[in-house]
Amino acid sequence: MAIYVDRNTKVVIQGLTGKQGRYYGLRNRDYGTKVVAGTNPNKAGTDVDGIPIHATVAEVVSQTGANASFVIVPARFCKAAIYEAAEAGIPLIVCVTEHIPAHDQAEIYQHLKKEHPGTRMFGPNCAGILSPGQCNIGFTPAEVSRPGPVGVISRSGTLAYQALYELTEAGIGQSTCVGIGGDPVPGTSFVDALAAFVEDNETRAIVLIGEIGGNAEEEAAEFIAQHVRKPVIAYIAGMTAPPGVKMGHAGAIISGGKGTAAAKMETLEAAGVKIARNPTDIGPLVTSALS
């Protein structure tokens, strides 16, 4: 089994006609993801390598029953694209675009919550979501994954790929790999994804990969202590990051002494989470948790 996306997920790609959209969209399709259409009002009626282009998401939904959208448009168009998908009734939106203004992120989050409570968004600035063997939306290199019992949730893309690779090399597959993104206001948090993995019977252990900044890891620790009975293994990047400096991701910044890696690790450890000291420790820790 898997969470959020599986072999029945039908994906519309907003931005399929762009260079990046085409590259990742076709990769996702070639992996076996059901990519039903792309949208672009100026190119309706054309196709991208056989995938039809429609004018609007609403049109795609009515004609194909699409139930997920992959948003890969430039940052300035993201808000409108996300709202369009939500208004068309899409319940799951994956936005990989980086550099969406922080105020827009907060507005998008609150707007979806108020007007479209049935819509879940991943990202912005996330690597995407992958259920190995079933569906891949976004950037994740599915070649380093295989189906199995471990759920992965990560703010960082590369660290998630590293974890998938380690697990796969150790012969352990994954149920779903959820990218929540490195931005200040993600649509889906660690807690949301943890709750979904708790409900998923085939997920037997969970890997959580966090980084400095914000308090999402602390919230996750509180949730784990109360609700998660499956083993959780965590890694937090940014132990040595200086305060007040963005470490690549817009959300990876220690401000006002809050959001340090040490505090996050301590809180998670107190909640019973096993802490990996470096990313390559994740594999062995999961192996021992499952045995």
């Binding site: 300035r76 922080a102 105020h103 950037f139 980084e211 990047a237």
Partner: protein, 381 residues
Amino acid sequence: MDLFEYQGKHYLTQFGIPIPRGVLATTVSEALENSAQLGFPLVVKAQVLVGGRGKAGGIRLCHDAAELTREVERILGMDIRGHTVERIWLEEAAEIEAEYYVSFTLDRGRKQHLGMLSREGGVEIETVAAEDPAAIARLRINPVKDFTREAIAEWVDGAGLAGSATEALITFLQNLYRCYLEGDATLVEINPLILDRAGKTIALDAKVTLDPAASFRHPEWGEFSENPIPDPRERLAKQFGLQYVGLSGNVGIIANGAGLAMSTVDIVDQVGGSAANFLDIGGGANARRMADALSVIHQDEKVRVIFINIFGGITRCDEIAKGILQAMREVELRCPLVVRLDGTNAVEGRSILASHRQEWLKSESDMLNAAKRAVKLANTS
């Protein structure tokens, strides 16, 4: 993107917020000439993108031209926590009746805007927060709702600003929120916000941080883009469009992905070394990007070894290995490279590196061992 105080104040005025009269100067003669527009007494304020300038002696009240000359000579060129003072703001001295603190920023946890208002102005807000947290009135503002005058009046009352919920103060706070929201600032902090003896509400200081992601809808921000980047390594990295943060150690770092780059800095520290930088080369990691990254790191004279830590996902390790060898031909190296390749086609990638093995290229398959090797080389070479 942090603004100098004078730029921040100018930004505030575009939203109708009153500031004291002032002029900019970059030399002593300019300061003397421009001071005529203000008269004495006036305040000389060092313009640096770092806090604590008051304590460092970067702010002085001057009563006449002789004192002004002396202070400007002293402050220009002085170092305040690694920042050299090149600009000075001269400002009319305010007659302070009361000092408050106000700021707007994003509350990431609650995914709403956060306003903080306090009657304890003029001191560090962190100190107030630690010693008397009740003295700060916090207000969450939902971005999809209006921020009404009624809500502001309540907030002002809640902060215990004795009988100060005047129309002028409410308008000030409303405009400041507009500056934060419509102005795409991730922080506006006024400390102190003052009531002067004439009863006017004025922003006596301004700390404004703009969201670079919003620059597409603010063509007027062009004037701020030339603000100096004090670290020459960071200046060069910016030219190449690389995500770089200068640190103080001797192990240069190149990794792909912000998370892995942070993690690489951490692991170097764990094995007893110290990173010279954070550098995220991005997804593709091709020869061009690799050569640019090597050039940036090379500019740092402290660097004794460069640790390249790459996870090959879509871009396979064999392509990355070829890119590294190509980059090594383009940049004249003056220290060894330790390369750790992992992920898709890692074995092929490592064998490409091995077949070109030179004195200065060490390949390790494991991140921890690679870090150990890099640190050892840094400390012995």
